[in-house]
């Protein structure tokens, strides 16, 4: 039994005593040891903690209340882990050791999952390539001179390379779905309010959600079941009951209507992406789904709305990094100079850009023209989805307009990087759940993702559709050349 298997198989093998949690943990640590220099998927490997927890797990192997017992998992480095460095990809937090665990971390521990380390990400989750990490970029397991996407690029690369079967990321404008697409794995951004953000280093609080990366829909379902649900520590979590997501994986899509906004795909989509998208739609039809045309008239405004709203919220959230309570400090004679030098030294270029944009659009005289206008168009974007979901159960379009781009290709031109997110900003602006499902490989063997968006709290249908594609796709079991586990 190895970590290349599905989570249910691994869990069953642990229960039967065919494999120990310690052995599984060592497999993951060995794979990381061998490949992390090449990929830089992990920023911190918590080997001792993981082996201790795995040893404890082995004494509980038949406990029915531990659905992930012994399963190695990676978590994005913007999720607070008590006693384990949490940097959020920032120089300012390079030595920060949180005094508490995020709710999702507590839930993973309670479920018996073994956290093996913290994955690299764009600083404060701001970016689409992990190139904005203060600790250097992560590389795409399919093509190491290309980006894995971002901001949760380390988590996506870790799962794609077989270092772990599962990972957590966070998604604000596409930071789970876009790297999932570029690395050829499943990535799910849950509905706003589905998963507690307590202990997530906040970026844009009206958009941020935590969600799973996995190699199969079933694995993603099992992980979502562990992390979803109301949390008294996060007042934005919903009390909507959490269904058994794995039970939704029927293998068919009979009666499911899927809308495709063809008007969004007329330009700017790479031909290889368009072709993989069509073959993905073919599999959805083969599973029983009906495809209809829908319109999202304001979707083209998603990028400018997102790139005003998210920086505005970020400029406020990141005010807490002032060298007083945690993180690095640059000494200065007065408190004001201390703030200014600490932030100048601690933040990278992209974070400064977003703080600047956010501060500008919230400042006197510009609020109505930029921020209020963006919030009004956000309402129109939500209404477009409401109207679409009156006719269909899911909306489909590609996750990213291009396959993985080369490292360095977009770092000099921020606007070019932002346009990577054209298909992913809509779901968080509308608070909706969305999944990126592998949809084939380009002729040069780069993964392509198909994105599905659903009604609020209908993650079950997203996973059901992903599972239906997975069962029918001939390319699903293809792995990158450096895939670790065997």
């Amino acid at each position: 039994m190895s970590i290349a298997y599905g989570v249910a198989e691994i869990r069953a093998a642990v229960a039967d005593g065919r494999v120990s949690a310690v052995d599984l943990c060592r497999q993951a640590l060995t794979a990381i040891d061998r490949l992390n220099d090449k990929l830089h998927a992990f920023h911190t490997v918590a080997a001792d903690r993981a082996l201790d927890r795995a040893a404890a797990a082995d004494s509980q192997r038949t406990r029915p209340d531990k659905p992930l017992l012994g399963v190695p998992i990676a978590v994005k480095d913007n999720l607070c882990t008590a006693g384990v460095t949490t940097t959020a990809g920032s120089r300012l937090l390079r030595d920060y050791v949180p005094p508490y665990d995020a709710t999702v971390i507590q839930r993973l521990d309670r479920a018996g999952a073994i956290i093996v380390g913290k994955t690299n990400c764009d600083e404060f989750a701001m970016g689409s390539s992990t190139e904005h990490s203060a600790f250097g970029p992560t590389r795409n397991p399919w093509s190491p001179d290309r980006t894995p996407g971002g901001s949760s690029g380390g988590s996506a690369a870790a799962v794609a390379a077989g270092l772990v079967p599962l990972a957590l990321g966070s998604d604000t404008g596409g930071s789970i779905r876009q790297p999932a697409a570029l690395c050829g794995v499943i990535g799910l951004k849950p509905t706003y309010g589905r998963v507690s953000r307590y202990g997530l280093v906040a970026f844009a609080s009206s958009l941020d959600q935590i969600g799973p990366f996995a190699r199969s829909a079933r694995d993603a379902a099992l992980l979502l079941n562990v992390i979803a649900g109301h949390d008294p520590m996060d007042a934005t979590t919903a009390t909507v009951p959490v269904p058994d997501y794995a039970a939704a994986l029927t293998g068919d899509l009979d009666g499911v209507r899927i809308g495709v906004p063809r008007h969004l795909l007329e330009e700017g989509v790479d031909p290889d992406v368009a072709s993989a998208f069509e073959s993905g739609l073919g599999l959805l039809i083969g599973a029983g789904a009906t495809i209809v045309d829908v319109k999202l008239p304001h979707a083209a405004m998603g990028i400018p709305v997102y790139y005003l709203v998210a920086p505005a919220e970020a400029s406020s959230n990141l005010a807490r990094f002032d060298g007083v309570r945690y993180g690095a400090r640059v000494p200065a004679p007065s408190v004001r100079e201390m703030y200014e030098r600490t932030r100048e030294d601690g933040f990278g270029a992209e974070v400064k850009r977003r703080i600047m944009i956010g501060t500008y659009v919230l400042s006197a005289g510009y609020y109505d023209a930029y921020y209020l206008k963006a919030q009004q168009i956000r309402t129109l974007i939500r209404r477009d989805y409401d109207e679409a979901f009156a006719q269909v159960d899911l909306v489909a379009f590609p996750t990213s307009p291009t396959p993985a781009f080369r490292l360095g290709e977009r770092t000099e031109d921020p606007m070019q990087m932002y346009l990577s997110d054209v298909f992913t900003v809509g779901a968080p602006l509308a608070g909706l759940p969305a999944i990126s499902v592998p949809s084939g490989l380009t002729p040069s063997r780069l993964p392509v993702g198909l994105q599905l968006t659903a009604r609020p709290f209908d993650e079950a249908t997203l996973l059901r559709a992903a599972d239906a594609v997975e069962r029918r796709a001939t390319w699903w079991r293809e792995r990158p050349p450096i895939f670790a586990a065997s």
């Binding site: 920060y96 949180p98 005094p99 508490y100 309010g193 009206s206 008294p232 934005t236 979590t237 919903a238 009390t239 909507v240 304001h298 400018p304 709305v305 790139y307 005003l308 400029s315 005010a319 007083v324 309570r325 945690y326 993180g327 690095a328 400090r329 000494p331 200065a332 004679p333 007065s334 408190v335 004001r336 201390m338 200014e340 030098r341 932030r343 100048e344 933040f347 270029a349 400064k352 850009r353 703080i355 600047m356 944009i357 501060t359 500008y360 400042s363 510009y366 023209a369 930029y370 206008k373 009004q376 168009i377 956000r378 309402t379 129109l380 939500r382 921020p414 606007m415 509308a430 608070g431």
Partner: protein, 102 residues
């Protein structure tokens, strides 16, 4: 709508945001923030008269009872202070440079 972003604008925003930007960064941001704001100009094409703004997504939590108004433990003070760049842990204080009269 907005006039072209000037270097003085960028300096003013940096001051509001408590960022001690270098000359090189100021020059770069005049150009890059200008590009981003130019892209955002297209929002003005949309008629939003009478449209309410979305500031957050309302989450169905009507069933969530407020917890009892009872004190519960908070984070351990000494552990929290151990992460501060400068603190007097014995007295339970965070230390900062002079605030008044500087």
């Amino acid at each position: 709508m907005a006039d072209k972003l000037t270097r003085a604008d960028v300096e003013r925003i940096a001051s509001l945001a408590r960022l001690d930007l270098s000359d090189k960064e100021l020059d770069l941001f005049v150009h890059q923030l200008g590009d981003i704001l130019t892209h955002a100009e297209r929002l003005q094409q949309v008629d939003t008269s009478g449209v309410a703004p979305t500031a957050h997504i309302a989450v169905p939590s009507a069933l969530a009872p407020l917890r009892e108004d009872q004190p519960v433990p908070s984070l351990d003070r000494d552990l929290v202070l151990s992460q501060a760049p400068d603190a007097d842990r014995a007295k339970g204080l965070l230390k900062v440079p002079r605030v008044l009269g500087s």
